[in-house]
Symmetry: C4
């Protein structure tokens, strides 16, 4: 079940160009257990491999995605039940020069009128703390030069926020608004 | 039958990048009934789910796309038999700064030489009225910052107009003509 | 056989984004007959429908692509055995402002160092004459604002020239060389 | 086995847009033999055709990719076990005007902070020598105006470096940094 659900969302992330190669990762809270299930380190998101259990505290198994610390921090600080981390190219390009991304399209303005851009190198406590704080207040955050972290009740919801953010940034870039937003 | 027809067009809309995530919707007039069938609210257009009947007057079922008001206004005001609403990124980008989109490519100049850009927030009477008026006079209209509504005798025809409009806007943007058109 | 060959190339044209909707057409010379087989009018190039026979002289059947006149003129004036007409967006954008397209990438410089840009409205004798003259001297030509006509010994060869031309124009546009080429 | 492995990576290269038409080639060292297996000349990388054995010295069979000389030079000069040569459009565009490509995104900065750009016409000793020297010091190199050569322990690793380089160049171009990098 869960592997098929991960594959279904992974296929959508690939076909929309929101991830490439073996980048990105996803997780869901484990029902009735003190932890969550996350994609494997180095896995292609469309591989259909069974995700790995990581507890909220203590050691994570070595086959878990190396970004499990960010996911753990989000589950500990927020009520979200699923997380998608992707590398959408227009959103990452926009994040390099903006402090906050303000969509100009109607869906973006309605659903994420201000997408915060935070900093932090992959694997550090800084990125975990900054992402968790931002996702306590909303459904999506950009890590500058790195990618999106989106969260929600389901993987579908987290994927949809990812898609909306990338779409909003494509509109900003294509319409020549990139530099005027911040 | 109808669910397969919706899926066939939904697959094309996705593979050409004319919609992403669970955005966009489609409908066709119901044969011999006073209403139309429309995709479900929140559905992926490539899901193959059975569309939902909405009458020309009175309440719509809660599972109908929340943009059924626009579709209803078009069916009441025009002879069109099918509608596709999509979110093509180049067309939406172009719509932000133009009052009318004038294609520079031969198909666009032949089939939709002047694509009107109207305003209106999703879900309002204003958008329904503006889209219906524009589709009374033609096959496609842009809602600024939101997306295309295309109509015709069949879903294929509405999809083809959607594709033509997006293609025309890509040409305008890639050739540096975006600002000189209005 | 022939329908599968057309479908195989049609699928590649779609997946590389060289055509959209029901645009573009393809043909091959008929072995041992005074004519060629061409895709149907209004057909999706990935449909797998059986192409239609058109004689070198006299009436064409109404189900043949409306651009059969261009294909006929090429077969009468050149030794090519297959033709692909596509609408690649970067090549069409580049054609609007150039008299000749000069690729900057190594494949383009090797295989089509000067891609001529000709004029002519779809369906006219002018476009048929201009395309046939250009394909007498080479494997690919641009019709300004309209699309590519590529020809060769096989559909594969014609498709490959189409792909090379679009790739070359993407490089010119992405590297900021578009205006400096003519 | 090996044909399926080549097809799996070929499919990924196509679906990410890293190659088009019949361009690009791949190879792996042959286990326990003095040579390597490379894709066939003119083959589509997603064709699933069985690759061809080429010895480290002496004649190559005529059905081997015409770029076997570059692959041979890399295997003779480095410990890499697999090579992917692709034509990613943003990376090739960036290579035209840069001496070295410096990614601005976090994966690029971590995994290939300086991608060298070398020169050489396809099929020459110059390109073979320049690529082998660069891959002795790293996992990826750009040949100006031509494409990427990436190498690693497996085809997956070489493909992933190809994807990272193209992604990095898309970010540079989309964010307006292209000219400021060299």
């Amino acid at each position: 079940m869960l592997d098929q659900e991960f594959k279904r969302i992974g296929d959508r992330l690939f076909s929309e160009g929101l991830v490439g190669a073996n980048f990105g990762n996803m997780s869901v809270r484990a029902e009735g257990e003190a932890g969550f299930r996350i994609t494997r380190t180095g896995a292609y998101l469309d591989s259909g491999e069974m995700p790995v259990f990581v507890p909220y505290e203590g050691n994570a198994p070595p086959e878990a995605s190396s970004e499990y610390r960010v996911h753990r921090a989000v589950y500990r600080a927020t009520p979200h039940r699923a997380i998608v981390h992707a590398h959408p190219v227009h959103a990452v390009a926009a994040s390099l020069d903006l402090e906050v991304i303000r969509p100009a399209d109607s869906e973006g303005r309605l659903l994420c009128p201000e997408i915060p851009v935070v900093t932090g190198e992959p694997g550090t406590d800084e990125i975990a703390k900054n992402v968790a704080e931002a996702l306590f207040r909303g459904n999506i955050v950009m890590v500058r030069g790195h990618g999106t972290f989106a969260a929600g009740k389901t993987l579908d919801e987290a994927y949809i926020y990812t898609s909306i953010a990338e779409y909003a940034c494509r509109i900003l870039i294509l319409s020549g608004r990139l530099r005027g937003v911040a």
